[in-house]
Amino acid sequence: MYRYDEFDRTLVRERVAQFRGQVARRLSGELSEDEFRPLRLMNGLYLQLHAYMLRVAIPYGTFSARQMRALADIARRYDKGYGHFTTRQNIQYNWPRLDQVPDLLNELAEVEMHALQTSGNCIRNVTADHYAGVAAEEIEDPRIYAELIRQWSSLHPEFSFLPRKFKIAVTGTPHDRAAVKVHDIGLHMCRNEAGEPGFEVLVGGGLGRSPFVAKTIRGFLPKHHLLSYLEAILRVYNQLGRRDNKYKARLKILVHELGAEAFTELVEAEWAELKDGPVELPAEEIARIESYFAAPPYETLTGEALEAQNREFEVRRFEDRDFARWLRSNVAAHKAPGYAIANISLKPEGGVPGDISADQMDAVAELAERFGFGEIRASHQQNLLFPDVKLADLYALWQALGRHGLASPNIGLVADIIACPGMDYCSLATARSIPIAQAIGERFADPARQHAIGELGIKISGCINACGHHHVGQIGILGVDKKGEEFYQITLGGAADENATLGKIVGPAFGYDQVVDAVETIVDTYLDVRAGGETFNQTLARVGFAPFKEKLYAAH
């Protein structure tokens, strides 16, 4: 895991002190709210419906047990005992008081964390594959590059006042878990013909009001040119991105209006000037960062010991159906023999997606130390995971998680819903999302039923800004307001992986009381018509929308 050195520590400390000064100037009235707004946003502080909300960065979703304990402490002292994991691998607190925020940030700095650039029109906290470093088919650990981007983008003097927010995601495997195609810049590691690792560079993806899937502007970028190429893209965007209309200000609109080809030409021309310049990464710096992400000391079992471990694991799996079910949905293959990736669902029945109590945070920290080298990951699906758990420890881990309400066997299943805060918390929302997520979770509460349905992603947004990523849900739900009444538009067939697609609207919207029935009808129809092991999108591609429409609207 990356550890701060003196430079990182100094910068974060100074940034906290700077923000403390800005807060003091706001409280004294020297700064108006209009002047303070962009300053607080650059430090992750939003004004929400009821109070301030602080978004804390978890760069590329990797953090430690020690950091989790600090997050728990902050939840108790500054929030109401809760934290909320977001779709961008961050954590949010909903009730901090403005005058206390600098102290809160100081506590974060103690454990090498910050809220830098988690909002505002700047380069946001960079995200990466949550299985980074442990996925079998990985070319290189994307966190090396995500950390380099984190540093390069922090307080970037040229790119802190962009036309709009700017999101970068990095993934290191052919299968994309980081949704790079719906980011302003997606970096997908690949190899060139000589077998050297580098990046496919994609630009102009994004959801929101005008969703776009990113386009490739460079098939292969040698990795040491990463920062000069990013600087070229950002410089073109900073000069040409629209500033007359905030809804047309994202990079995706510029790429769309210019056309990907013309945009590529501008970037390549700018890059020709920046390439091999001072921003370029020296190989030693890449190697230095890389050394922080070395694998933990895995135990290599052989012969009888390995067999004994496997035998015990198999017996547990055979004897305990609940454990077997959890393994099937929540545990993923690991690159090291004898180890597994254990996902922790933050989507319990009736819960709020992504919410976690301070006590649960402490429990997760303790279990990470006991079973997972003290390392925790946050996924953009608003769940957590331990990347390195011994097969032999999975049973004890599962039991312990269960005692804290953290063993819901539903990762990737119908109850693993992504939802934005919606009208319950957000001032932009036009409809509720959390109660819809809860009601769907209750409707499909039976784990056996969820497992019979199999992988199925439902995503819910409470307004067209699409924070719940409904466009890329296999089933997407968008809450809209029609003359003061909440309605929900359903889209089908979205995906955010390497085959990213935007879902298409299935038909007229449903009322608040009908939307859960509609989702159930869609799921039942899918089960009726699916062939063999087809996924939802495969079935949809084969049969089209007709069977779904028929069932949904036949009675109307």
Binding site: D5, R15, Q18, Q22, L155, P157, Q239, P278, V279, E285
Partner: protein, 200 residues
Amino acid sequence: MPLIKGDRIAEDPWITVGDEEVLPEGAPAIVSLARWRAERDTLAGRNAPLGIRLRADQPPGEIAAELDRFQVIALEFPSFGDGRAYSYARLLRARHGYRGELRAVGQVLRDQALFMRRCGFDAFEVAAGTGVAGWREALGEISVFYQPAEDGRPAAHGLRRNGNAATPTPAADAVHDEDLGPSSPERDLSTERLGNDGYR
């Protein structure tokens, strides 16, 4: 509008001349791009220093071939959030080799000061009443930089490679008298270069 250069309010001999206004006889004048284009010969033949003011939608590439005509280039910030001129400033310094005064005009607040200076600005037209003390404080708030820019300060990765430790945070009252930099030796060098001699 007060002008801040280095660490203090500076005399501003320049007169920003509107497109319809008469040019001041023998005095330094800043004109718009439109006026420069329309009256290039007259302006070039004038016996006084000339400056140009570019709007946020006028990238400096428009005058790249004529930079030696201008002793001042003023870049407009129409609002706090409009960051185009940060790119323009870096392009002028690094790409086009401009070494004259680079002046930030428009909405210029202390919270942008450090970013502006890092991008190559060395003169700032601020609102009346802007305290120089606050401005100095703002420039000293951050001492570590992750990326190279146009202020000659080394990026953290370069310092790491050379085995240097991070320079300690300068206390607000320890700001050097002669310029805005904190008091470490390497910092003084870069700020002197910036404040007094323009750019390398």
